[in-house]
């Protein structure tokens, strides 16, 4: 069933959807690598990472439905919302590009998610703290996997270095949005439920630049900043195509089951 617009849901439900949509949309993107990665081990790695994220998303979307208390399930949220009701950051919806671009996205996002979950593990909302406390360990592996590839490709051949740097440059404009906070988040921070995203920025920078340094890469010195707005349901051009692929089966064959 489709329901109320995301912006009209109770604040905790909206916050759970922000966390859940980040995980869900990145899982969908990573799933596109199944059978397409440069080597078999990477097929397995990227889809295993996707599976971890999907597991996190399922609990968070289900949680949003319970708080809304209007009978919506995880599937209703995943498959029956339209673009403007998804509240993920724009970084996770960016197209895979080449392998280097996907790996750059992985590092930028996993470093953020790792820091965020470490703090959310102390949230007073038991579902959010439960998901975060559990997923920290998974995201450790995601970050480590990305960092390993970035070192190899950045400090590799001239061509791999060039492409790895291009991947970082392509996605850097979407970093700023990760650390923007808003009224809804601040309200939940005061209640001990959420984390002020802006407080993660410095630590994130340290972690990411240390990997880039080792990889002989650099964060772009001057880069445009994407206007953002993912948390308000504003998305980039690629997002509609992603949703069409993710949702069409469920919408075309209502009630279809495996």
């Amino acid at each position: 069933m489709s329901g109320a617009p995301t912006a009209q849901l109770p604040p905790v439900a909206q916050y759970a959807l922000r966390l859940g949509d980040d995980a869900l949309i990145l899982a969908q993107r990573l799933g596109e690598w199944a059978a397409n990665a440069p080597e078999l081990e990477e097929d397995v790695a990227l889809t295993n990472i996707a599976l971890d994220l999907l597991g996190q998303a399922r609990v968070l979307l289900t949680h949003a439905g319970k708080i809304e208390a209007a009978g919506r399930t995880e599937d209703d949220f995943a498959f029956l919302r339209d673009e403007r009701d998804f509240v993920n950051v724009q970084l996770v919806e960016q197209p895979n590009g080449d392998f280097a671009q996907t790996i750059a996205r992985q590092l930028l996002f996993a470093a953020y998610q790792r820091l965020l979950y470490a703090r959310l593990a102390d949230s007073v909302d038991p579902t959010i703290s439960g998901v975060a406390g559990k997923a920290i360990k998974e995201v450790d592996y995601h970050e480590d996997h990305a960092a390993g590839w970035i070192r190899r490709l950045g400090d590799g051949t001239e061509e791999s270095h060039r492409r790895m740097q291009a991947g970082v440059d392509r996605l850097w404009p979407y970093v700023d949005e990760l650390f923007r906070t808003d009224q809804l988040e601040q309200r939940l921070v005061a209640e001990g439920i959420a984390v002020d995203a802006s407080s993660l920025r410095d630590e994130w920078h340290k972690r990411v630049t240390s990997v880039l340094d080792e990889a002989t890469l650099a964060a772009p010195e001057s880069s445009w900043t994407a206007p953002g707005g993912g948390r308000r349901g504003l998305h980039t051009e690629a997002f509609g195509y992603l949703l069409a692929e993710m949702q069409h089966l469920h919408r075309s064959h209502q009630g279809a089951r495996w």
Partner: protein
């Protein structure tokens, strides 16, 4: 009095504990630490608590169904299977028996984890070389951090050449 069913709590617990993991059938859910709690109320209601190894573990639904069936065959009719996320599962919960069975099946059991899971900026310690389950040498190398299931990584032995799964310590 039809509600009163005589259930042997210990038999129910043993039945639940004996359920094999669908992806690692050589070990039970008790060996892995997935089974957290079994209680039987005075009225005969059975409550079973399980916890996922990884957030996206696709085996959870099968485990919930298997454990329900196992206790129902012991006469339980009112069975509730709950999934709990906290405290988060750790490989430290795998029993000695479980570790022995994994090693016997050619899967290197996980190193101890301890308290390192929650330090936000600590180094990620995923690079410890496990011993080869075939020849026992520590001279092994990581082939891929992600193996045939979410919980395993792929290694190869530099001494005897054996490729093997390592149960990732988390």
């Amino acid at each position: 009095m039809t509600d009163l069913v005589l259930i042997d709590e210990e038999a129910v617990r043993r039945a639940a504990a004996a359920v094999p993991d669908p992806e690692l059938p050589m070990v039970t859910i008790e060996d892995l630490g997935i089974l957290r709690d079994v209680t039987v109320s005075p009225g005969g209601r059975v409550a079973i608590t399980i916890t996922p190894t990884y957030s996206g573990c696709p085996a959870m639904e099968a485990i919930a169904a298997d454990v329900r069936e196992a206790v129902e065959t012991r006469g339980a009719t009112a069975v509730e299977v709950r999934t709990e996320l906290a405290p988060a599962w750790t490989t430290d919960w795998i029993t000695e028996e479980g570790r022995r069975k994994l090693a016997a099946a050619g899967i290197a059991p996980p190193e101890p984890v301890g308290d390192r899971g929650r330090t936000p900026s600590g180094p990620v310690q995923v690079t410890i070389s496990p011993r080869c389950p075939r020849c026992g040498t520590p001279r092994t190398r990581l082939v891929s951090r992600f193996g045939s299931t979410a919980c395993k990584a792929l290694y190869a032995c530099s001494a005897c050449g054996e490729p093997f799964d390592y149960f990732k310590a988390i």
